[in-house]
Symmetry: C2
Subunit: 696 residues, 2 copies
């Protein structure tokens, strides 16, 4: 395949600008390659001296005994550009340009130099990282072509986690936090300006490393979503959890991101929808990237969210129930047999309901843990466990509690977290291989993140293979606005239920339509030039007489003519009154392609924003899940005597809109259906208006 | 005053059941009193031996040379009860009952024993703590009458924080977390069953300790709100921040709390309103109790929430802006002079907008911090600062950054937090007295908590002295339902605007009322027996003819008679159509007394729950703040062409409802005003219906 694989596993590395000083950019990689056991060839390039850091040095790349797989370019400016071009010409596989001063700071000359380097690389297939990059670090092979300070400060240890980031800091901050927790990290890559290889493209390669069990991404922009989609597909295939921290979530953050990397601000909810669609689990901060990491490495197969909490403190039981409830984790309802079993062991005043308060009796009876855990282990209602030990130490057999807990965890094979604020107690549990946190809140947050990713993965697995990423090559928003009749026709053809209507060209046809439809009707002028017709009095509801209809045809015709707008007829339509009005809107995002919004309808859609975004294709059940996360979700099943709504029908309708957006032949730029009238369950839903814009 | 003060500062302490083994309940207090330097007299009581832990022991309380101020009762069952009664009789000031097995586990005999002890104490003024208590610990005096394991594990240091809790665990978990952060703790009290002195009553005493600068409360139930109100009043007087963690926030948590302490479940939003009213800052978990602690001890006087973030990493700048924005902390807009000043110092590609990215140039120029900070210090737009150092170490002059930051903090006198994930870097900043956190998210959370408490305190100071707590002695919800006319009359008398109406006793009167009001009217039967009259067809809107009105009078009279309900007349009222409909509901909470709900009106009030609760008295601006936290807040200022709403008038109306609930003479149990029709700004608001229940 491509030369990209040499980025992770080079057989030889040359460092242009190699320095004896390990705190210089050209000194650090050389230092690390020796220190962390790189087994390949290392070639310092420094014309001024025979050896650098004790390694034989060469005067130039052309003096090397072989063409190196990888070259670290640790010289600046023109020198860097010349070196990169030389690398390309001699057949180097991968060049890492650490120097800054390119497009990130000089959008004219710096950007041009970047483009010249890329052009040189393209000619020979050499891949370029950076410029302005901190470097690549593979602790599996010891190929640490990076100048990060962090590896001096926090000793590395090969392990199952990979971290990728454009930003140098955000590649090593998660590294540092994971290492503090004793978790091994294999890959820590910071790719800089991403002029050629982007962090997203590199992630496709890292996702294939069979030793990687957890992939963490820090993203500011979303420049290469198709590579992220590819990474997600590879990861789904091998059950590799991918967590992404996409910053610039807020307006303030997006402004900061734009000034940092020039990242294009994308509507954040579309990013959410993209990640959700591809099964990338989005976290909201650095803590989110690392707090659940240990849990992903346990090999559990979680079945649900029902939690059992066990503590020697009633207060911890209450706080755990609060935290779990807020995280959407119900307290498991213990079986009668479990409760009876507990009742035989625990003191009479202890609680045998869940959360299980074993009380301070633990101080006088260190065997309580080993006695009760096997009873709980048998209960099928438990999906996950929290063990809270707020206070222990002298007088308590802490090592025994930890051993008992570990044996219990091994027996159940279910997720288990420990909350222990005392470092000594936490250490005893951690030494038994248990995931341990300072507080029950922190433990629940970690568990929630872990379960959330698993649920996302399970949903994607259940819905079958996702389509690969759809390029946004036809993202144009501008186009031809269709008139209402044309728009409705497209919807009807796609199987979307439309309230009975007729497009009429005369007053007589209008009257005939009214008679055919029966009862009061809506009368609407049809003109592709007037999409918002109600603003001009071109919509009249509840019309129910021949005279009124005939008169309306005439006045509407006149009004449209006065506006010098195209007159495409008058629509006579059945009046539909749904149980509740929803909205569906679809458009093409310039980065992510088709996006469909579903949500509460009415006048205040923009102001209240009670909508969710989905990336097609999606199913009716995806739509239902989206609706159930709306603020109006409590109304879906009927309240105050209202019947439950036909959400399944609405989901089906929305899925059809998604399919319309994916139909390349139709070339639809956007669709607005508002309102979508939803009836009581079993009675379906219907649209009475539609506005379709076709790409020019 | 009372003997309660001896709970904190006893001059002598006797321990009944004193043990040589320091891991026994009777061993720990004795051990701690010696270890932590208690200067008063200590009297172990143990008839079996001449001394305990090297201290002269006595055969019984009656063998003591004096009556001790405090007695720790570390014996069990009947023995405990006998000891307490003996203590009371001999004039002991305070008895601490550590034994369990009372009301918490035996609601019949245990509770009765508790009551007998209290009765004995009452006779002589002796105050009783517990039973089932872990103990009281005052590290200022060394009076550690507690058997907590934590003080063996985490060495105490006297300091400015006080922690009070019923639960033993939750008294020492915050203690442990604060001690890990190097923060000194003076008081750590766990009061157990609260049979006599409750944690709330004890807090009134602790709040008076001038050395206490931060008061932390863990609460499960809310048994003594008047004492909490008193504590809050004392704290407001001396600017003492009070933070409360009230658990059982969720349904699952409330169930767990009920089984733990038998705590009465109170609607959690009322608890919120109570804390807000009295200026107690509520946090949601243990982390919330401790994460801002250091900030409260700095003596800052925060003016606002505009943040300036400074980092050597652009990514940290973006993440800080995201975190700040989510916490409602805008990025301060730097003055032009500041930006120009920064531009002269920073590299050309650095950002001189806020957040300020000083870039990796810091590695080559350790003076950048000292150069830029004075420029930023002059900018009045900044209210608070975050300094993010994601990576540093070898090659960086970290001690200098820390010194520069500390000098900057001292110069500005404004809140400053540091985010540094590397322990070595964090330590360098912490050693300079700066509040340091692992991540920007954690730093922002701490700052948000600190600012939130300050804002609450400032609001209370601005609104003048709050009324003290109003006892819920007249909390009865049951009572006499007034008819609509009587209800409207009460509202009118209170100055609440009511749509024009007349109560009529004949068809002729109805017609006359219609003529007087003018235009279409609402016609409603008035009966105190039929509060929900629309369900029975007893409300008719848009009536606008003599014939219709006369007929309605007759049919309504008949309908009411058929229901065998009291017929109090027919109301003819002007039709009002507000710009938007809101609701106001007031009732008496059995724990907290009068509570007023304000929020969005309409059919789905219960299902959507877009309401806030306030404790009267409150002002129109309190109401506006409540409305601005609703989900419909974006609509208040007018969207989609709507005019802004007259929120001031609504606030005034709601404040009048609060005043009605406080008027003892009126004896109102509840008031429901729904809808309250709010017009465009300047046009006021009006009610058209009211339902008042008077206490029987």
């Amino acid at each position: 395949m491509s030369n990209l694989k040499y980025a992770l596993n080079p057989r030889s590395i040359a460092i242009v600008g190699a320095s004896d000083q390990i705190n210089k950019i050209g000194g650090r990689p050389l230092h690390y390659l020796a220190k962390f056991g790189f087994q390949g060839k290392v070639y310092p390039i420094n014309p001024a001296r025979p050896e650098v850091q004790g390694v034989k040095s060469f005067a130039g790349l052309d003096a090397l005994p072989e063409v190196p797989d990888m070259v670290c370019v640790a010289v600046a400016g023109d020198n860097a550009e010349r070196t990169v071009i030389q690398c390309a010409e001699m057949g180097v596989k991968v060049a890492l340009v650490m120097a800054s001063g390119f497009s990130e700071s000089d959008p004219v000359n710096g950007a041009a130099a970047e483009q010249r380097m890329i052009a040189a690389g393209r000619k020979t297939g050499m891949r370029i990282f950076g410029p302005n990059m901190q470097g690549l670090a593979n602790f599996g092979s010891g190929a640490i072509a990076s100048f990060s300070t962090m590896f001096l400060e926090m000793p590395p240890e090969d392990g199952p986690v990979a971290i990728l980031s454009q930003s140098g800091a955000m590649s090593v901050v998660p590294y540092g936090l994971l290492r503090q927790r004793g978790i091994g990290v294999r890959h820590t890559h910071a790719t800089g300006n991403d002029a050629d290889v982007s962090v997203a493209e590199l992630s496709t390669e890292v996702a294939k490393d069979p030793n990687v069990k957890l992939l963490l991404l820090y993203l500011e922009g979303m420049p290469d979503p198709h590579f992220l989609a590819e990474t997600a597909a590879i990861a789904r295939e091998r059950n590799l959890p991918v967590l992404a921290l996409k910053s610039g979530r807020t307006a303030a953050g997006a402004i900061a991101a734009a000034s940092h990397t020039g990242a294009l601000a994308t509507e954040d909810r579309v990013v959410d929808a993209f990640f959700e669609h591809h099964g990338i689990y989005r976290v909201k901060d650095v803590e989110g990237l690392v707090e659940s990491a240990e849990l992903f490495l346990k090999g559990w197969k979680p079945k649900g969210r029902n939690l059992v909490a066990i503590s020697n403190s009633g207060a911890v039981c209450v706080l755990s129930a609060d935290a779990a409830s807020n995280a959407g984790m119900p307290m498991a309802k213990l079986a009668l047999a479990t409760r009876e079993g507990l009742g035989k062991i625990l003191p009479s005043f202890a609680t045998t309901t869940n959360p299980i308060d074993i009380t301070a009796a633990l101080l006088s009876n260190s065997g309580l843990f080993s006695d009760i855990l096997p009873v709980i282990a048998k209960d099928a209602a438990a999906d996950a466990f929290l063990i809270g030990v707020p206070v222990a130490g002298q007088g308590y057999d802490v090592p025994r509690f930890a051993r008992d807990s570990a044996a219990f965890a091994a027996e159940t094979g279910k997720p288990l977290v420990v909350a222990a604020p005392q470092p000594s107690v936490a250490q005893a549990f951690a030494e038994q291989g248990l995931a341990t946190f300072a507080t029950e809140s922190a433990a629940i947050r970690a568990l929630d993140g872990y379960l959330g990713q698993n649920e996302l993965a399970a949903r994607l697995a259940a819905s079958g293979a996702r389509s690969t990423y759809r390029a946004a090559e036809s993202a144009a928003q501008e186009g031809v606005t269709l008139n209402e009749a044309e728009s409705l026709a497209i919807a009807e053809k796609a199987g979307i239920p439309v309230a009975k209507y007729r497009l009429c060209q005369s007053a007589a046809e209008c009257v005939e339509a009214w008679r055919a439809i029966g009862g009061p009707v809506a009368v609407k002028a049809c003109s592709r030039d007037i999409p918002h017709k109600s603003e001009y009095g071109l919509v009249k509801l509840g019309v129910n007489s021949e005279a009124e209809i005939s008169a309306l045809f005439e006045t509407m015709t006149t009004t449209v003519a006065e506006k010098k707008a195209s007159f495409d007829g008058v629509i006579v339509a059945a009046m539909a009154k749904g149980q509740r009005e929803f909205m569906i809107g679809a458009h093409r995002d310039p980065v992510f392609g088709p996006v469909v919004a579903v949500g509460d309808g009415g006048k205040y859609i923009e102001a209240l924003g009670d909508v969710r975004l989905l990336i097609p294709p999606f199913s009716a059940s995806d739509v239902e899940r989206a609706l159930r996360s709306l603020r109006i979700a409590p109304l879906l099943d009927g309240v105050r005597g209202d019947p439950p709504l036909d959400i399944a029908a609405f989901g089906d309708l929305a899925a059809k809109v998604g399919a319309l957006m994916l139909d390349a032949k139709l070339k639809i730029a956007s669709i607005d259906l508002n309102p979508v009238m939803v009836f009581a369950r079993g009675e379906g839903c219907v649209i009475a208006d539609a506005l379709v814009v076709q790409q020019a």
